[in-house]
Symmetry: C2
Subunit: 136 residues, 2 copies
């Protein structure tokens, strides 16, 4: 029994077809996916899952720390595996996405802001936008 299965079962959660399929889709993609992209991918695999279930599953995976949520300001959230700490560069023309690992330590900036503003900072969102080599 793999690690994830164990984690789920120990918390009273079940291993279902949709859960397996959605986590698998997220783990295989190299860019964050919207709900409609995930649904398209599910139907390609002949897995029938209602959209409500997809939303609920994603909420669940984010809460469990298995998936991460990003927002490129497109009017729909995107989801990806949460295993890496990175940001993205998005081509505003072709929507190509590449991962970016910052050189600078944002955590230090967060501590400074927390100190100055009296906030407890839990997370941040940082995405870069522009044109990729082929769209330029």
């Amino acid at each position: 029994m793999d690690k994830l299965t164990k984690k789920f079962r120990s918390r009273g959660h079940r291993i279902t077809q949709s859960r397996l399929a959605i986590t698998d889709i997220l783990s295989r993609t190299d860019k964050p996916l919207t709900v409609s992209e995930i649904r398209r991918s599910l139907s390609q695999r002949k897995v029938t899952v209602d959209k409500v279930t997809v939303y609920r599953e994603l909420t669940f995976l984010v809460r469990e720390g298995i998936a991460g949520e990003v927002d490129f300001g497109e009017g729909a959230k995107r989801f990806e595996s949460a295993d890496r700490d990175h940001h993205h560069v998005v081509c505003v023309n072709c929507r190509r996405v590449e991962d970016v690992v910052l050189r600078h330590d944002i955590a230090a900036e967060e501590r400074r802001i927390a100190q100055k503003k009296g906030f407890t900072i839990t997370h941040h969102a940082l995405e870069f936008f522009g044109l990729c080599a082929s769209c330029r």
Copy 2:
């Protein structure tokens, strides 16, 4: 005739009641506003403006560089005056927003990424989330 009026007229744009009211609302607020907040503010001023007009006006103001668009991942975009270069800390509980001016030069990071990824980077989005002093 003020500077903005001049700018508008020179480009063939007109000074209308909605345009004046919306730019005024944005200039007076200390936090970015959603379309529905702007509409609420408009009706408080007894200015009747259709929601379509508000959307079109905001698109216009962003295109003209007068307003800026931010997205806190709430499912609705927010708009603010575009005069300052800053980011935000958002309290996830009470939605209080404070401006943040970064100490670190993001532009340098952008240049590094552009170089490495072959992108031309035009802009970025950076927001911090957490709990404010009173919500903690």
